[in-house]
């Protein structure tokens, strides 16, 4: 058995800190704790910290530091006092579940044995938490899709899915930000932009934030800047 955390040197410029292998709140909590400690007190030469589900990548400038020094600094932060977490921000996002926007809604209902309304109700009943950004700019991976809606991704990705689609796979949910391929299931469309034009706050979520969805009408979706 591996004793966590582990520290794996990566190339000439990073260390991967692993707290486990699973998608689990307790493990992700340890990722966020180290992320906080590094934000508060970045080791000399650190370039950036990238939190994911069960691990955190710490990149550094090899002209300033090295793997051994960085790993010692990471141990030092982990062994030090905890920092109070900022209370997570909460976001309520409207979603239009009309079938032309939520093009997989009917299929998801068939595959889960639920009615279309029950799929929508299960999706809006859950609370989601922002675990990480990945894949593409602004793609925030939300965990919290209820077990009754959890489906494996499609066997092949579908091209050119527009921005603003609400998609699910397994326990995860994403509001897309760019036209991209996806093999996830499309439930609806959200008029709120995650990738914003605001230079002061270009991304709506921080990792650790919580999200809930509520149903909006087509008229409200269209009025709110449909894309």
């Amino acid at each position: 058995m591996t004793a966590y955390p582990t520290f794996r040197p990566v190339a000439d410029r990073a260390v991967l800190v692993e707290f486990g292998t699973e998608i689990a709140a307790e493990i992700h909590g340890q990722v966020l704790r180290l992320d906080r400690l590094l934000t508060q007190s970045p080791p000399l030469g650190m370039a950036e910290a990238v939190p994911a589900y069960a691990n955190l990548l710490v990149t550094f400038d090899p002209l300033v530091t090295d793997h051994t020094t960085m790993i010692a600094a990471l141990h030092d932060r982990l062994d030090g006092p905890d920092l109070p977490a900022n209370p997570p921000r909460h976001h309520d996002l409207g979603v239009c579940y009309d079938p032309d926007l939520g093009s997989d809604l009917v299929t998801v209902a068939e595959q889960t044995g639920l009615s279309v309304d029950a799929v929508v109700n299960a999706h809006i009943a859950a609370e989601y938490s922002v675990y990480l950004y990945g894949f593409a700019p602004g793609y925030a991976y939300l965990a919290g899709t209820p077990p009754s809606l959890q489906l494996p991704r499609k066997p092949a990705a579908i091209r050119d899915i527009p921005a603003g689609r609400v998609i699910i796979a397994g326990p995860q949910c994403i509001v897309t930000t760019l036209k991209m391929p996806t093999g996830w299931w499309i439930l609806g469309a959200c008029p709120t932009r995650i990738l914003r034009d605001d230079p002061a706050r270009p991304f709506l979520f921080d990792v650790g934030d919580t999200v809930r969805f509520h149903r909006i009408s087509r008229a409200a979706y269209d009025a709110d800047g449909a894309r």
């Binding site: 410029r13 990238v50 700019p137």
Partner: protein, 334 residues
């Protein structure tokens, strides 16, 4: 002086690039920036610019610009491209000045996949998150150059003292192995695929763009049922998909992925890899993390020395040479 350059032809994947946007991987944003970062620094330094000023990255598709107003000095570096200005052939790494009515054509030459074109002035372009580097999948940032567009250089300058061909930075021997540090998920591969990765040649396939390059060669089977939670990716990761095929992730890589990474290239050797072309063959050699740090520092010193020399205007270089000749003339007489 303002200088306008009409894009009379741009191939695919010709884009504006600068240092990129580091520090945003936590928001899903890769750094982007030039595929060959060394060459942007060289082209800019040869003009007396800051090393990471915005330039144009030219793919094998090539680029033709026509100066429709003003004049500006420019530099080309990276790869062995064919550079023609008006009806004159220039060296592949060169500084020259384009004036109204002239055409500049940059096309693939004997080697290399990417050339960087820099200007003595401020290349105008859309900025996104503090950088004009183009993120190719979204087109955010300065963007891809399209035939018919006009590129504007604000505060364009002509720098006659800097004109002339450049001595290219050492081109690594074509057969030199690319240096990797194994991992971070090498444990998902048995000894046999690890040996094949290090012991056999891989060919760059046609699936080569700013996101990555797929390799063909020995299959690298993964030894465990793959159900990895997505984790952060570093530029240079050698990611192996379920079919045992390796892809090296490059400038516009996705920031997380669920496939294991057998090894990761060190940064200086990435600039070398990207200049290879589809069909070219590469090999990999494993070094320790300590050796990787030493290699990165040596590569930095080597490039810095080259850039320091390049930063000196030619005229003063000639003067210094004359001076040193005079001195050696005196000393050799003793």
């Amino acid at each position: 002086m303002r200088c306008d350059l009409k894009v009379s032809f741009a191939g695919p994947m010709v884009s504006l690039q600068d240092a990129g946007r580091p520090g945003l991987m936590r928001f899903g944003v890769p750094q982007s920036g030039p595929m060959d970062r060394r060459s942007l620094a060289i082209a800019n330094t040869a003009l007396g610019n800051l090393p990471q000023a915005t330039g144009i990255e030219i793919s094998l598709g090539g680029l033709q610009l026509e100066c429709v107003a003003g004049a500006v000095s420019f530099a080309v570096a990276g790869g062995g491209f064919q550079v023609r200005l008006a009806d004159r052939s220039l060296g592949p790494w060169t500084v020259a000045t384009i004036t109204e009515g002239q055409r500049l054509t940059i096309r693939p030459g004997k080697w290399g996949s990417w050339a960087m074109l820099a200007f003595a002035g401020d290349l105008q372009g859309q900025s996104w998150l503090g950088s004009r580097a183009t993120h190719s999948q979204s087109g955010l940032g300065g963007g891809l150059l399209q035939t018919g567009a006009v590129v504007t250089i604000a505060n364009g300058d002509t720098r006659a003292a800097r004109e002339g061909d450049l001595t290219p930075f050492d081109r690594p021997a074509p057969k030199a192995a690319l240096r990797v540090v194994m991992g971070p998920q090498d444990r998902f591969f048995d000894a046999a695929p690890q040996d094949s990765f290090l012991g056999s040649p891989f060919t760059l396939t046609e699936a080569y763009d700013r996101m990555g390059v797929r390799l063909s060669g020995a299959k690298l089977p993964v030894n465990a049922a793959l159900d990895m939670a997505s984790e952060p990716i570093l530029r240079g990761s050698v990611q192996v998909a379920g079919d045992g095929v390796a892809t090296v992730l490059l400038a516009d890589h996705q920031t997380t992925g669920g496939y294991p990474k057998i090894a990761t290239l060190i940064a200086p050797d990435l600039d070398t890899l990207v200049q290879r072309r589809s069909g070219d063959t590469v090999t990999f050699v494993a070094i320790s993390p300590e050796q990787a740090i030493r290699a990165a520092r040596l590569a930095h010193d080597h490039l810095t020395a080259y850039l320091d020399d390049l930063a000196k205007p030619r005229a003063s270089l000639a003067e210094r040479l004359m001076q040193s000749n005079l001195i050696s003339g005196v000393t050799s007489g003793e």
